[in-house]
């Protein structure tokens, strides 16, 4: 794992949390979308805050796909769950929501999980003759 790769993982967490935050904030500005005017759901992107949220989620998806190109799914998912912690901190300090003791406990558990998984290897090297489609494409990126 290089510094750049940790940056990509941080990007996954950061853009997921802020993207969701922007969309939540924008949807509150827009108000309820009626089931009878479902087409309105396509118009919500005209709201600048929601548009920004969509842009951030696109960056999130690009970072997520990049991470999956060199790390295991069972590494990337727990490692990037930092986003829940970031989202709670945004709720607390930017949106001034009340964060209860159970939530802080939840943050602690997630952080512990992140700590656990990032101590270990990020990638399972493919077996020599597994006949897996994956084997051919990964030989070039074996690194500690």
């Amino acid at each position: 794992m290089t510094f750049r790769k940790y940056l990509v993982l941080a990007g996954v967490a950061f853009f997921a949390a802020t993207g969701d935050g922007f969309i939540a904030h924008g949807m509150k500005q827009v108000g309820n979308v009626s089931l009878h005017h479902l087409a309105d759901i396509f118009l919500v992107v005209l709201n600048p805050v929601i548009a920004l949220g969509v842009l951030f989620l696109l960056v999130f998806f690009a970072c997520y796909m990049t991470a999956l190109s060199w790390a295991d799914l069972t590494y990337v998912l727990p490692a990037t769950s930092v986003s829940y912690v970031v989202l709670t901190l945004i709720a607390k300090f930017a949106l001034h929501e009340n964060v209860s003791l159970t939530r802080w406990l939840g943050i602690l558990m997630i952080s512990a999980g992140v700590g656990f998984v990032t101590q270990g290897p990020a990638f399972t090297p493919p077996k020599e003759k597994s006949g897996d489609l994956v084997a051919a494409s990964v030989s070039a990126r074996m690194e500690p």
């Binding site: 190109s69 069972t74 769950s81 209860s100 558990m109 997630i110 992140v114 656990f116």
Partner: protein, 126 residues
């Protein structure tokens, strides 16, 4: 009865988003290290390679299904049940699916991490 609907939506969300994550992961492993490929063949060529990968496309389709199931789930059940239940269960099903379908070595460390995160997500919603 309503909670039965909510829980069946949760099951569908968990299954489709797990399928999506596994397919996306498999697709991106087939594409190869994006950073390295970009230096070799350029961003556009990498993008084309990703968009032409069948596993990637199926993964996106599964994710879209998961998203719409979530919308349905939210209309049947409470936000505070559907979102944390489906997110935290997905961490656990992903660990199982990654081991079976992606042959990842899900050791004790990764199991503990998945369970801690799943539990933490539930507490965040409590």
């Amino acid at each position: 009865m309503k909670s039965l609907y909510a829980w069946s939506a949760i099951v569908v969300i968990v299954l489709t988003s797990t399928a999506g994550d596994v397919l996306l992961s498999r697709g991106m492993k087939q594409v190869g290290d994006v950073g390295e490929l970009t230096r070799r063949i350029g961003v556009l060529a990498v993008l084309a390679r990703v968009l032409k990968n069948p596993n990637f496309l199926l993964g996106v389709l599964a994710m879209a299904t998961a998203f719409y199931s979530l919308l349905f789930g939210l209309s049947w059940g409470d936000l505070s049940l559907v979102v944390p239940a489906s997110t935290s269960l997905t961490f656990i099903t992903n660990a199982v699916a990654a081991r079976i379908f992606l042959h990842e070595r899900v050791d004790q460390r990764r199991w503990i991490a998945a369970l801690l995160v799943a539990g933490g997500v539930v507490l965040l919603a409590a």
